[in-house]
């Protein structure tokens, strides 16, 4: 039996062999691997890029105090971006499943339409949920737009739900029983995360403090974005990456406030708009900044 970490290592190895940079998880809380700069910013612009990383993805509202066998506050996604998508992308993807020991002649594989949209990121794409014996194991998306910008090269994004995939391969009914490494179950490693974050997100997070934090991060992002000057020389020094970190902070605080039941209907739409506006501004500035970087590279 392959452990959780062996499956991850095999998949990383598989994609490394296909030209992906293997990144480590981004070190700021995100709701999905898509939000990491390695995806959100790298898919913009004309430069080809391939990257794979495991991203712990936090969804405060999905927490279940460690009681529910399939639902997690923090689950692990393997995020793979191939920009532009190669013509044999699906073959490559199927190869990755075979690399972790799934004999696709003996299993039922279906690609069911599932389009993806992230309003807070101004992003959408079309694709499928990939079903293996009735289990959704991957979200497969051809990005069309990100940060409100039409993408020049169309990237393929593969998002593997690692806990589910492992539970499938290890034949476990609850994620807490999957073997993370020899002698350690998933529960041994993550149960306390699930329990404590559920308590915090649903019961103890201090709403005024979270709002204050949201406003501080928002203000910092807006301050930086306000200073960005497309006509400035040496634009590449401008800290857009740190500005984007502030946006990510806001997004996570919004999710936490939401799970705490602290966002009223009228506020909700407005707050989503605020986050989206910041994300879109960062994306636009980034595309502009990259143009200068590209010119500099050609000149150098």
């Amino acid at each position: 039996m392959q452990s959780f970490q062996e499956i991850i290592l095999k998949l990383k190895h598989y994609w490394a062999e296909r030209g992906c940079i293997i990144q480590e998880p981004y070190d700021i809380e995100v709701g999905a691997g898509t939000m990491c700069p390695e995806t959100f910013l790298r898919v913009l612009g004309p430069k080809p890029y391939r990257v794979a990383y495991v991203q712990p993805s936090r969804r405060p509202a999905d927490g279940r105090y460690g009681d529910n066998p399939n639902r997690l506050y923090k689950h692990s996604q393997l995020q793979v971006i191939l920009k532009p998508s190669p013509p044999d992308i699906i073959e490559q993807y199927l190869g990755s499943l075979e690399a972790i020991g799934i004999d696709l002649r003996q299993h039922d594989l279906k690609f069911e339409e599932d389009n993806w949209e992230a309003p807070t990121l101004g992003a959408w794409g079309v694709g499928w949920q990939v079903m293996l014996d009735g289990l959704e194991i991957t979200q497969f998306t051809y990005f069309q737009q990100c940060g409100g910008i039409d993408l020049e090269l169309v990237p393929a994004e593969l998002t593997y739900g690692l806990e589910r995939l492992t539970a499938f391969l290890q034949v476990r009914d609850t994620v807490y029983d999957i073997e993370w490494a020899k002698g350690f179950s998933y529960g041994d490693v993550r149960y306390l995360d699930e329990l404590q974050y559920s308590v915090y997100n649903f019961e103890m997070a201090d709403i005024p403090t979270l709002w204050k934090l949201f406003e501080l991060h928002e203000a910092e992002a807006l301050r930086l974005l306000g200073l960005y000057n497309p006509k400035a020389s040496d634009k590449k020094r401008f800290p857009l990456l740190p500005a984007y970190d502030q946006v990510l902070k806001c997004s996570n605080l919004f999710n936490t406030l939401d799970s705490r039941g602290a966002i009223s209907v009228t506020e909700r739409v407005g707050v989503i708009q605020r986050v989206r506006r910041m994300a879109v501004s960062v994306a636009q500035a980034w595309v502009d900044q990259q143009r200068e970087v590209a010119t500099a590279e050609v000149a150098g």
């Binding site: 003996q106 039922d108 594989l109 279906k110 339409e113 169309v154 209907v265």
Partner: protein, 643 residues
């Protein structure tokens, strides 16, 4: 020589529900190329759209084109120039007279093009014109758009390839088999195409895939589900059903929830026992040929167990807070940004239910109807809204009319769906839909063309069906403040009676012209007019009524005063009047055969436009009275008569 043609567009998995439409569109685009052919056959799997045609000519027929040259009066030099350009001597030119004068002309013979060339030129554009509700770029911004990336193209005319390139893919004789059971590249000819695919585990014909599923299902009592069957037919290239089972203890969850999980989330058929009750089994349809090791069955069983466990968890969690206690939470659920929250909608619907004649049960049901929107079960299975509320209300001891009304209040959700089963549910459904319609129209959220994001057409259709089929005696006009909404609803009324109930369009127009606010009454009048139509007197009488209406209009006759019997001329006029007096107040059915000859005779013998103004006025009054008397059922002048 006539040739067969094969086009296979190989793509990544196309959404199942778009495939039949895409084939129709492909067919249409092919016909537009105007290449003569005998038969066309269209087929598809998720990974290929296929058009096969027989009897294409090798070459298109030759044609002639008349080219107009200089005017006859033009200098000889110009004429010679024109002739040279056409490659003939000036004396070979004809002279043609046109409205502008006489001109030299030349009949140019255009040799028909090779069909292969014409196809090679048209196919790329044709393929990209296939309509899909949503499409994508894959080669990059500004590149071709299609539903999913095109990965291979087979285009054969007879034995030869029709050469073209699209999105970096060159057409050729290579198709592809099933993703894992077949080979990724298989050489095909038109003759062996279907068999070659079959050898590589692709059943090309949807009908054959459908048949395979049906036949292999025959041993199991599955709940019939035509829509699910179609989904599975277009989701697979080699479908094989397998039966799995689940722990019978899940059967104590509501059947609605179990079926929804199986149907909508897992695309399984549910299974019944001999008595029609849900059995602890399901049928999944695989995209491979067999499951000898039971991997697929066990995998699906585990997924279903996890799903059912989730549902049970939600069901139990939701019970901790009663529906009634959830009402204040509706203040946090948006109905529509401009229309406020579901709490506000609930208050409005409660008031409207009462206004519509609803009793205390109806008001209670309206109060609780939307509370299930805050439950975990509905958040997870949104398609069960209403149903879940009804189930919770039942468990929580609400009276039967109340829980049933909550359960049913989204009904009818389609033309095939039934209306709510009881009067209480009908009132609540009506109030809910009318509130949605009124609100949306008030803030300008009006459907345009095919865009109807708030499903207002369905809501309006629901209003019509609930009132008519529930036989609700009420005047809709009282609840339609807005002219635009009134017109919108009138359209749905017309559609319902014409397209669903099968009344003739002129019958519907005629009856609606006499009022449609009371739909039950409208239905009764429609049935009467439909029956009347069988009478040989009907159409002639309708024609006479139309004539009367025209006469009154031309005379700008307004208002019906009293008829002065003394001014009536003896003979047909007095006869008609006496007839009218004797039958007034009686239903038209019983008097039509007596009335018609009198009307006919009147028009035969009597001049309405009498020279004496008083006589004329009196005659118009007689006709106006007659028209009014029999126009309460329908405006018969709207009837289209054959004579």
């Amino acid at each position: 020589m006539s040739l067969p043609f094969l086009l296979e567009i190989g793509a990544e998995e196309i959404p199942d529900w778009m495939i039949p439409g895409a084939l129709e569109s492909l067919h249409l685009q092919f016909e537009k190329v105007e290449i003569p052919h005998e038969t066309v056959r269209l087929d598809a799997t998720p990974r290929r759209l296929v058009l096969r045609a027989e009897g294409l000519p090798e070459r298109q027929p030759d044609t002639e084109e008349r080219i107009l040259g200089p005017a006859k009066s033009a200098p000889a030099q110009a004429v010679a120039g024109f002739a040279r350009k056409q490659g003939v001597a000036p004396e070979d030119l004809a002279v043609e007279s046109t409205p502008k004068g006489e001109y030299y002309s030349f009949l140019k013979k255009v040799k028909g093009r090779q069909t292969k060339d014409l196809l090679a030129e048209s196919l790329p554009g044709l393929i990209l014109k296939i309509y899909f509700p949503k499409s994508m770029y894959w080669t990059g911004k500004g590149g071709p758009q299609f539903i999913r990336p095109i990965r291979w193209l087979v285009a054969l005319l007879g034995d030869g390839v029709v050469p073209f390139e699209l999105a970096g893919v060159r057409s050729g004789p290579l198709s592809a088999g099933h993703r894992r059971l077949g080979s990724p590249e298989i050489a095909v000819t038109i003759a062996d195409y279907e068999q070659r695919l079959r050898d590589h585990h692709v059943i090309l014909s949807a009908e054959e895939r459908r048949h395979k599923i049906r036949t292999e299902l025959a041993a199991v009592r599955v709940k019939p589900d035509a829509a699910l069957l179609e989904t599975l037919v277009y989701l697979t290239e080699y479908p094989t059903p397998i039966t799995g089972s689940f722990d019978p203890q899940f059967l104590d969850l509501p059947e609605e929830v179990l079926v929804t999980v199986m149907r909508h989330h897992q695309k399984y058929f549910s299974v019944e026992d001999a008595s029609g009750k849900l059995a602890p089994q399901f049928v999944a349809v695989m995209n491979i040929g067999s499951d000898p090791e039971g991997f697929v069955r066990r995998g699906n069983e585990r997924v279903l167990r996890a799903r059912f466990n989730d549902a049970r968890f939600f069901w139990e969690t939701d019970q901790k807070k009663k529906l009634a206690d959830r009402k204040p939470d509706l203040a946090h659920v948006t109905f529509q940004a401009k229309l406020g929250t579901y709490l506000e909608k609930t208050e409005r619907t409660m008031a409207l239910a009462k206004e519509l004649g609803g009793d205390a049960h109806a008001v209670r049901a309206a109060e609780l109807a939307k509370c299930d929107l805050t439950t975990e079960l509905v958040k997870e299975f949104t398609e069960l809204q209403g149903v879940v509320g009804g189930l919770y209300a039942r468990v929580q001891g609400e009276p039967e009319p109340v829980w049933q009304a909550i359960y049913d209040h989204y009904k009818p959700e389609s033309m095939e769906d039934s209306i709510p089963r009881g009067r209480t549910g009908q009132i609540v459904a009506l109030a809910d839909k009318l509130d949605t319609l009124t609100g949306c129209f008030r803030v300008g959220l009006v459907p345009t063309g095919s865009r109807d994001p708030f499903a207002l057409r369905r809501a309006a259709q629901g209003v019509v069906r609930v009132v008519v089929e529930g036989k609700l005696d009420l005047s809709l006009a009282n609840y339609l403040a807005d002219d635009a909404l009134r017109d919108f609803l009138a359209d749905r009324v017309r559609y319902y009676f014409k397209d669903i109930r099968g009344f003739q369009y002129d019958e519907v127009n005629a009856c609606m012209a006499a009022g449609w606010s009371q739909l039950v009454d409208l239905e009764a009048r429609l049935i009467r007019v439909q029956n009347l139509r069988a009478s040989p007197d009907f159409e002639p009488l309708a024609a006479s009524f139309k004539r009367i209406k025209n006469i009154l209009q031309q005379a700008q006759f307004t208002g019906v005063g009293a008829i002065d019997a003394a001014l009536l001329e003896a003979g047909p006029e007095q006869d008609l009047y006496r007839e009218y007096e004797s039958i007034a107040g009686q239903p038209i059915e019983s008097v039509i055969s007596r009335l018609r000859p009198k009307v006919d005779l009147f028009f035969d013998k009597v001049l309405v436009n009498a020279p004496d103004a008083r006589v004329r006025q009196n005659r118009l009054t007689l006709l106006g009275t007659l028209l009014q008397e029999f126009s309460t059922i329908a405006d018969f002048s709207e009837i289209v008569t054959t004579s």
